[in-house]
């Protein structure tokens, strides 16, 4: 008996080496906690200290489906500059930006700044005119040699308007800090059909749209105007 109890006791002394095993599904709260902490580039210790929770408990919460009490959740949300409901994944069915705020200051972004913000690629919105009016659709994009590149299915609505004059918008807005930016690209789209241009894009751009399915067609927007705004709330 005594020997059996001694086993775990010695193991807990070698604390540094111990890591939580990562379960297959850590749950939504865990993912959101970890993702938000990574986004803010904070260490476990920093967040634990700010939220006044045990570092080990925080590490547990980031790896396992846990149920922290309301007070702990509130303190964690404050430490991560977000809200308890956001950590629990609430609000997913409502548009962003519903919090009323003081009037922020808008400033114009230069072309160079806009290009820097566009460069990582990601999610944007493509606007074009159809017979039934204006259409705006979310798209994954990459910036390649100063042009916006999208991938779409050959039979898609975007493909049908792949040679039109289009607008493209992307932004990043922080609801908590009421700050962010948006960049608007206006230009001429074309379906990439010429072999050498297509080969060049296939080689240089690693673009994988979120939706599953066929994305055989590359559409490229040659910008003729790029403008951007930043909003800051003091």
């Amino acid at each position: 008996m005594t020997a059996n109890l001694a086993g775990p006791a010695t193991a807990s002394q070698g604390r540094e080496a111990w890591r939580w095993p990562v379960p297959p599904d850590p749950g939504d709260l865990s993912r959101r906690l970890a993702a938000r902490r990574a986004e803010l580039r904070l260490s476990l210790n920093q967040v634990a200290e700010r939220a006044a929770v045990n570092r080990r408990y925080l590490e547990f919460l980031e790896n396992f489906p846990g149920q922290p009490d309301a007070g702990t959740l509130r303190r964690l949300a404050a430490a991560l500059r977000t809200t308890p409901s956001a950590l629990l994944g609430g609000g997913g069915d409502a548009p962003p930006g519903r919090h009323p705020g003081p009037v922020g200051q808008l400033e114009r972004l230069s072309l160079a700044e806009c290009c820097r913000l566009l460069a990582p690629g990601g999610l944007g919105r493509l606007a074009f005119t159809t017979v039934s009016g204006l259409m705006i659709l979310p798209v994954n994009y990459l910036l390649v040699a100063g042009t916006i590149v999208l991938r779409t299915g050959t039979g898609s609505l975007i493909a049908a308007h792949g040679d039109d004059s289009v607008s493209f918008e992307t932004d990043h807005l922080d609801e908590t800090l009421l700050s962010g930016w948006s960049v608007l690209v206006r230009g001429q789209a074309h379906r990439v059909l010429q072999p050498s241009e297509l080969r060049n894009l296939r080689e240089t751009c690693d673009l994988n749209p979120w939706p599953a399915g066929e994305h055989d067609l590359y559409v490229r927007i040659l910008p003729t105007r790029i403008t951007g705004r930043r909003i800051r709330t003091p």
């Binding site: 072309l111 100063g146 010429q194 072999p195 241009e197 060049n200 003729t224 790029i226």
Partner: protein, 181 residues
Amino acid sequence: MRALVVYESMYGNTHAVAIDIAAGLSATHEVTLVPVTRATPELVAAAGLLVVGAPTHLHGMSSAASRRSAAQTAGKPGSGLTMDPDADGPGMRGWLARIGAGQGFAAAFDTRLSGIPALTGRASRGISALLKRRGYRLLAAPESFLVSKQNTLLDGETARARSWGALLGEEARSEVAGAEL
């Protein structure tokens, strides 16, 4: 506003790109297009926007030796290359060393072999750095237009050059006007 497009070209590709950039700029600017050999200080002084381009030779701007070697390559029988009529001259590096201080807008481009920029090098970076040192305000990051190993512009580069010209023109105009929000 006046724009001046200055190019150095060996086999005509940078010349062709410069023509397309000038076409794009013409929507917003009165454009003058000249080879580097004929880009006089008067023309430079009169321009509010200076767009400068050259081919990439040995990872950067051309030198007397690299230009001589390019001319020899074109001179070989069956090379299929013809020298641009304005190919002979002091080259971009020499020209940039002589232009005085400016305070207008500027942007640089180059032509280079398609491939990873770290391997091919980009003349436009050197041009950009020199323009900045002269006091010019760079409107955009240096841009490269791609050429195949057979020394022809890749498909789509013509259209891209035209839109890049338009983009620069619009940006220069809104910078000058201090466009409202």
